[in-house]
Amino acid sequence: MSPLEPAELSSQRQHELQHTPLHAWHVASGAKMADFAGWEMPIEFPLGTVSEHRSVRAGCGLFDVSHMGLLSIEGQQAVAELNQLLTNDLDRLADRDVQYTLLCDELGGVVDDMLATRLAADRILLVPNAANSVAVFALLQSSLPDATVVDMSADWGLIAVQGPGARSALSGIGLDSEIKYMTATTADYQGREIIISRTGYTGEQGYEVLVPRSLTQQLWEQLLDQPGTTPCGLGARDTLRTEMGYPLHGQDIGASIDPLTAGLSWAVAWETDFRGRNKLQQLRAEGPKHRLCGVLLQGRGVPRPGMKVLRDGEPIGVVTSGTFSPSLRQGIAIALLDPRIQIGDEVDLDVRGRAVQAVVTKPPFVDASPR
């Protein structure tokens, strides 16, 4: 046995890692902690990834996602200027609407994907990934001459409340959660304003709650006192999002995997200007050279990033995200495939030299809906 993989050994290099407001709570609860994007984060609690995953599909899971960035873009021209950068169209938003959008580079690669919330006609809130928050902040600061860009990441916690029991967990502590998917509302919590969004990364009905850093642990503990809520780590967050086929920046999208290749053209508003538009229009005319698809294993094995997808022994793609699906009890993958490969095609996955039968699918892999 060699159970300690390099990724886990990195948890022993704790010196420069950042901590969320719940870090001490996680450690005290016996969570396995590891380095994630420069943050020491809980990978799983003592219950374990598979049970945590199931609790989100059947009940309510709580995730500390305070490591994610939080940027406020303010000013009369802020929305118009920001809309010249992001792929989606902010003009489609009314106040308190939330939108999935992408920030690309000039070559059409994805700098980051994020949720944008229109708080007011002159204020947008962005939640970029932890690993990219500093870069996105710097880029916006230098690209939005008439807007004020504020990095609020250090002052706020973010708790994801996910699963069919999410609504009753929030209403159980007196928080109004009667809002539509992809909208947000504000609420009073202990005399401070918090922002509740009907959003998530699990495929279940759920919420993401922005709460001042000093109140994060109180809210977390209050939610955990509600019946049927379970603390969940980033391990379950990854298996849940992979079952839905949601892309993870740095694996399924990034500098070398553009939005069209990733099947995210629904988040690209061609009628607006945005960074990388010319290059992406060219790619659109040529047709993408690869396509991100789902791969469902028929045989035994767990796909991992970097594994080859084969047809008739010839490589036709590579896995970008792979895991064991706790819902299906099968291996599932997101893979970058030759565009000639069709949904339903039979392929093989090269699992350390062993060819495992698989079929190409269109995610989600499970019957779940966040709406």
Binding site: M1, S2, P3, L4, E5, A7, E8, K32, I43, E44, G48, T49, V50, S51, G235, T239, R300, G301, V302, R304, T323, F324, P326, R329, R352
Partner: protein, 124 residues
């Protein structure tokens, strides 16, 4: 935590001798480090395994690890229940979660007693 009557390898397998065979599995420490185990690959009954060489794989949601044969010899029995319920390695690593029975008499890896293994894992 680690039963006194078992022997242990530095690679986190446990061994037990009885009735001319050696039963082995992975330790509590190993299953805890791996997390939820979802697939197990083991040699067939009748195959020969070689001490110190990989003889199978244990895969969790997080990662895959080789199982190193603690002894050389013929596989006499395999815990086929693990093919459908690999999580038994998590819940009962020293009992229901055993991996293989191997014929005695072949080469063996160096082993530790329970307290020696305890101090080995405390240094990791």
């Amino acid at each position: 935590m680690n039963p006194e009557e078992l022997k242990y390898t530095a690679e986190h397998e446990w061994l037990k001798e009885s009735d001319g065979k050696i039963r082995f599995g992975i330790t509590h420490f190993a299953q805890d480090a791996l997390g939820d185990i979802v697939f197990v690959d083991l040699p067939e009954v009748g195959d020969t395994i070689t001490a110190g060489k990989p003889c199978g794989e244990v895969e969790s949601t997080k990662s895959v690890s080789d199982v190193y044969a603690p002894v050389s010899g013929e596989v006499l029995a395999r815990n086929d229940a693990l093919l459908d319920t690999p999580e038994m390695i998590n819940t009962d690593p020293y009992g229901e979660g055993w991996l293989l029975d191997v014929a005695m008499g072949g080469d063996a890896m160096d082993t530790l007693d329970a307290s020696g293994y305890e101090s080995h894992t405390s240094q990791i």
